[in-house]
Amino acid sequence: MNSRERVLAMIEGRPVDRLPFMPITMMFAARQAGVKYRDYVRDYRVLVDAQLRVAEKFDIDHVSAISDPAREPADLGAALEWFEDQPPALVESQALLADKSRLTTLRPADPLGGGRMHDRVNAVALFKQRVGGEKLIEGWVEGPCAEAADLRGINTLMVDFFDDPGFVRDLFEFSVQMELGFARAQVEAGADIIGVGDAAASLVGPAIYDEFVWPYEQKLVDGLHALGTRVRLHICGKTRKLFGGMGRLGCEIVDLDYPAPIAEARATMGPGQVLLGNVEPVGVLKNGMPESIGAAIAACHRAAGPRYIVGAGCEVVRDTPDGNLRALRDYARSQPAA
């Protein structure tokens, strides 16, 4: 059973030889490859080389085109600040939609237009050439709340929910349509699964999530399924109050951040949902010892039950010792799923 077959078997409820292992590695992968993160996010060949290297070294079952949330905003013309060795950041004081009226004339960026989105599509295509059929190839898009926050400014979006709900819905609709176009290009390039990152969703409570965010997440997930792909949902932060909605989206994998109680996620989302995570990336995975990491991931597995994929709560941080990530890998290797 190769890596791709293992993950697909887990998703489809078929027997697997061991637990799949799918941590998010971005700056960690760049560091492992000895490249600056600025180069990692700007040149798909650098990203692909680094991902393949880290997947090989740590026996990770997937490779991913995830890098930073600023690809779509950059192609729409948003202001970015670049750093040598960390992700580019959006400049909120110059948010693309600081003036809401711009939304009426904004058109989705072309994922094959030669910009940062195209660079990600190229990464997926190169993954397909290099490890297609062996590793699960993961594309990535932003969820509606995250993308809206990137375009409008996260502080402003949070009060827009109350000040101008119609605008928020229009912005979410725009975001979903653009992300579906981006996802289509990645699926056509060879992605086996699309990761959806909707970090900002954890900042709102269940009332706003259910009324505003969930319907557009559902539209995005349904659209991705209509493209024939699979979905890994990752919402950073505390999501406990959102578990009901997250479980109803029908994503193949729900990837939990560390503040999300995995036992409660299992209870709420039911026995069929594949859960992924969620060892604390800094206090446990980076700063801990292999023995304590093994104990922590075993506790996650016990709480999640058999439909489970090993991973950290969020991104494996850059300076995580090799031995610590190997402790997660060793646990996955040692555990035949039920």
């Binding site: 700056m27 900042l203 706003i208 850059r318």
Partner: protein, 213 residues
């Protein structure tokens, strides 16, 4: 003084328009500005923080309450200044160099302001020498440092070092916070406290001011 509990309700409900209207009404009636702050505004923000902590309120509700509080405070501040009223403490706050994430810092800033502190908010991507300059020029007694990225956390250490080199480290208590930040890291870099959320930060700041009183 008349009962202005509508001000408390307006802040708690994030209704800036009503908060401002009630404040104007109170000022016109010559209400005691200190009492408006201590009896209505601070308790409203304290209750907002409690609701946030127990996940009854979330970031949007907290930002709305902060907006209402600030609208009211802007009207009251000149009256407080005229009376020579002293804030609970002077806080210099910012997201550290290299990091543009500011929503967590903004929440802490608002809760501190709502808790009666004078807040000098330096924004995001703030260099250590900017913190030093602000501490000196505002005679601050607390510095709050925020970071969302593990790769920008070293800027917290650099800022603490810069405060030492500038000779103002003993003048201030340093609080740090942000998603990847831990108490262990606070201890490592010689910070005086770690706040895991905005309400803890306010509580720590109050304790530190009380300890220095």
């Amino acid at each position: 003084m008349a009962d202005y509990s509508r001000l408390y309700d307006a802040i708690l409900n994030g209704d800036a328009k009503t908060a401002i209207a009630v404040t104007k009404e109170a000022i016109a009636a010559d209400a005691d500005p200190l009492e408006l702050v201590s009896k209505y505004m601070i308790p409203a923000m304290d209750e907002t923080g409690k609701r946030f902590e127990c996940e009854e309120y979330f970031v949007p509700e907290l930002l709305l309450a902060a907006r209402a509080m600030k609208g009211s405070l802007e009207l009251i501040r000149p009256l407080l200044t005229a009376r020579g009223a002293q804030p609970a403490g002077r806080v210099v706050i910012g997201t550290v160099k290299g990091d543009l994430h500011d929503i967590g810092k903004n929440l802490v800033s608002s809760m501190l302001e709502g808790g009666g502190f004078e807040v000098i908010d330096l924004g995001a991507d703030v260099a250590p020498d900017k913190f030093v300059d602000a501490v000196k020029s505002h005679n601050a007694n607390i510095v709050c440092l925020s970071a969302l990225l593990t790769v920008t956390m070293p800027s917290m250490k650099n800022t603490v070092e810069a405060l030492k080199i500038a000779g103002v480290r003993e003048q201030v208590r340093v609080l740090i916070g942000g998603a990847p930040v831990t108490q262990q890291y606070a201890d490592e870099i010689g910070a005086d406290g770690y706040g895991e959320n905005a309400t803890v930060a306010v509580s720590l700041a109050r304790k530190m001011v009380a300890a220095n009183a």
